[in-house]
């Protein structure tokens, strides 16, 4: 009883809750890295949808999972070549309509949901890296190399120096057609929150092949 009372007054977080939260994150990352084939399929399916609205550079596409502080993120980097002509009823192609639209911001479909103003000016673009040839789509555990975690956000961006020169003139397949798509790249990341791969029945992954280490498993 005394124990119980002391515990009651000792107000640190119950370690069970920490255990739960830590397990939640680590199991998501384990499951993903152990079933690379399944997420390869997911990527293909996502692309099928995206292709209905956008012309994207599939060779340069990058998608991977990352362990962040208290979140497990699906990060996608999808260079858009052009937005297909869409029959439009409402403003913008979709979801972020209300946020920070300036008239031509129809890159919103893939927009990062990044709250910073779009500032579609060329100067903003200049600081953005040019679209260089990326390594092939890195996915699941198969991707992040030695640098994992923190450094990876840098890895995602191709060398900035060659951007300086060429970005103003827009990158190789970054045709001048659509400034809006350039703007999108200001934050070149689409963050999708954790629930994408939640603690769903692990059996869904079936007999998984031996996968590479969990990404970002520090």
């Amino acid at each position: 009883m005394i124990e119980f009372i002391t515990k009651f007054f000792r107000r640190e977080e119950a370690s069970k809750n920490l255990a739960k939260e830590r397990l939640r994150l680590v199991l998501m990352s384990d499951r993903v890295s152990l079933a690379p084939d399944i997420f390869e399929t997911m990527k293909v399916e996502m692309l099928d949808v995206i292709r209905r609205y956008l012309e994207v550079d599939e060779r340069a596409l990058e998608m991977r999972f990352e362990n962040a502080e208290r979140q497990f993120l699906l990060l996608a980097n999808i260079p858009v070549r052009s937005v297909l002509p869409l029959p439009r009823k409402t403003t913008g192609a979709g979801q972020t309509a209300g946020r920070n639209t300036n008239g031509r911001a129809n890159g919103s479909a893939i927009s990062s949901g990044d709250a910073s103003p779009p500032a579609a000016s060329a100067s903003a673009d200049a600081s953005a890296p040019a679209e260089g040839p990326h390594p092939l789509p890195a996915f699941g555990g198969s991707a992040p190399g030695p640098g994992d975690d923190l450094s990876s956000s840098k890895e995602l961006r191709p060398a900035a120096n060659d951007a300086a020169g060429s970005a103003a003139a827009a990158g190789p397949h970054q045709t001048a057609k659509l400034p809006a798509t350039v703007k999108r790249r200001r934050r070149r990341r689409k963050k999708v929150d954790a629930p994408v791969v939640d603690t769903a029945a692990p059996s869904a992954f079936g007999d998984v092949a031996e996968g590479p280490r969990p990404p970002g498993g520090s």
């Binding site: 069970k16 739960k20 397990l23 939640r24 680590v26 199991l27 384990d30 152990l34 059996s203 079936g206």
Partner: protein, 261 residues
Amino acid sequence: MSGRSFVVTSGKGGVGKTTTTANLGCALAGLGHTVVVVDADIGLRNLDLVLGLEKRIVYDLVDVAEGRCQPRQALIKDKRVDGLFLLPAAQTKDKEAIDEGQMKTIVRWLAANFDVVLVDCPAGIEHGFRNAVAGADEAIVVTTPEVSAIRDADRILGMLGSRRARLIVNRVRPEMVKTGDMLSVDDVADILGREVLGTVPDDEEIIDTTNRGEPVALDKERRLAKTYATMARRMCGEAVELPSHEDGIWGRLRRLIGSKA
């Protein structure tokens, strides 16, 4: 094929696979089933010791696999309870001494001749694990309410294919669960997303009875024997409720008194 075959596995070592296998074997036999417990931990044989049958070993699993004896010859009959048999592991060989195909053949044969086959799996996810799993139709995944054991259990669950897999949460300490310092059985089931077959408290009786080579489940009057008997019933498809160690008032009182002594 009449009998059912289960692999008792965990990923992590030391969480209680061997203890669980021995006691479930005793409990199942106590219910009137014929049972073979198979020690698949080649090179680290232990099930014989936990069962108190270590002195009676003549042939082992590898002898059977390599045809040096008939499967029946290698089985050790437990004299304390009708219907319980042990197929011991080889102690001198290493895990490569047997392959999945051989293991499958042996477990199939056992299942055809007994009601239940329980395969005690070695720790790890390599060769020994694949062998132990090879012949089993269902799985019992043992874990403790700790992060490392749970993570490993999740990993193992992903490697069991389409087998039905249920959890045994071992070494639960109700007083810690109560104060929020240990994950509860429900938490564990939630995180792993699997059905719980049973839960066993962390209890000195386990250590004491293991010392003697007399699994606690043999003595039907003991509280823990009932715990294992309940699991055994549930394995056989009976709809028995799980006894809750977490809020049994008597259990708590007993522990409280015990711990202050």
